[in-house]
């Protein structure tokens, strides 16, 4: 199978609350999902979806991510205010593996391969067979309206000024 084309940069993205924003000039040709248990637990998800950005092509345009060393070998970046998983980075490596979902237009980034198959969740073999609840607007129209008028998510594009809603300790 031929690989899908890599989209041309530049790209922007950030966390949900908008405290952290980034620019990526270009992407490396390695967009993938990883099912390994480290990636799963770091992201609370069934996989991490990542694409490499060379250090020299990555700029943090607002704020700086918090980092957790998940092993002596790797660090995971996230927003300390809202928790969005932002990257995986191998210590000393040439690039930062950015979370594809944190890009403003993730749908433009096609994926090339899957890794860590030992951890592949059973549901991923038959995702197309489960019940479909429809769009948020159709399934929960009132909630969709409330989200629209009270949304604290940063828009999917750069903003000149932005005040993130603060996260709270319980």
């Amino acid at each position: 199978m031929t690989e899908p084309q890599m989209p041309e940069g530049p790209f922007s993205g950030g966390c949900q609350c908008g405290a952290i924003r980034f620019h990526a000039l270009a992407l490396r040709d390695n967009p993938h999902v990883c099912y390994c248990r480290m990636c799963q637990k770091a992201t609370g998800n069934l996989f991490a979806a990542l694409v490499g950005v060379l250090h020299e092509n990555l700029t943090w345009t607002r704020g700086k991510p918090a980092e957790f060393m998940s092993s002596d070998q790797a660090a995971r970046g996230f927003c300390g205010n809202c928790g969005t998983s932002l990257y995986y980075r191998s210590i000393g490596g040439p690039h930062v593996s950015m979370s594809i979902g944190a890009f403003d237009e993730p749908e433009k980034i096609a994926l090339w391969y899957q890794l860590g198959l030992e951890g592949k969740h059973p549901s991923l073999f038959h995702l197309n067979e489960i019940e479909e609840a429809g769009t948020t607007e159709a399934a929960m129209p009132e909630d969709a309206a409330v989200i629209r008028i009270s949304n604290h998510q940063h828009p999917d594009h750069d903003t000149d000024a932005w005040t993130p809603r603060p996260g709270v300790l319980p």
């Binding site: 996989f47 998940s70 928790g83 979902g101 059973p122 609840a133 769009t135 998510q153």
Partner: protein
């Protein structure tokens, strides 16, 4: 006998426990969930029984008026979604045994990332570690909490 589900964040600062059975397990593709988790999908599970926080608690971000999302402020693992006074939903990947919960409903399929419908067709890549690399990996220290409760635990690796 009641089945208990346990889980927590990567660093182990936040841990939870909840009694089965599962109330609802879903996978959501909406843009709020995508950006909250920095991912293509958001798999969540809720239970009839209340979630007990057995070590610390998540930090909360209110993503819109009715919804709060919880995460570990030490390592960033996304942990919860809670709408109003509805039961707390937990991220399936934060469970110690994520494979025992299989989502039965998909939300916001209209916003699916193009790969989601054919994730199975992606080229399978092995890590390709050499014996030498495996030896190095074996001595590397992981700071991930084990997939089970621990009596005492000092989260490491924060910066």
């Amino acid at each position: 006998m009641t089945d208990y589900f346990t889980g927590g964040c990567q660093c182990g600062a936040v841990r939870y426990r909840v009694a089965g059975p599962v109330r609802h397990a879903s996978i959501c593709n909406c843009r709020m969930c995508q950006k909250a988790l920095g991912n293509l999908t958001a798999p969540f599970v809720s239970f009839q029984a209340p979630v007990e926080w057995t070590r610390s608690r998540p930090t909360l971000f209110r993503s819109s008026m009715r919804v709060q999302r919880g995460f570990c402020n030490q390592c960033g693992t996304p942990l919860t979604y809670q709408r109003g006074d509805m039961p707390i939903s937990l991220t399936i990947g934060s469970l110690d045994r994520p494979n025992v919960v299989v989502p039965t409903v998909e939300l916001a399929r209209d916003n699916r990332h193009p790969v989601i419908g054919h994730i199975d067709e992606l080229r399978e890549e092995s890590q390709g570690a050499t014996d030498e690399e495996r030896d190095i990996l074996a001595i590397l220290r992981s700071y991930q909490h084990p997939d089970q409760d621990t009596e005492a635990w000092t989260p490491g690796g924060g910066q």
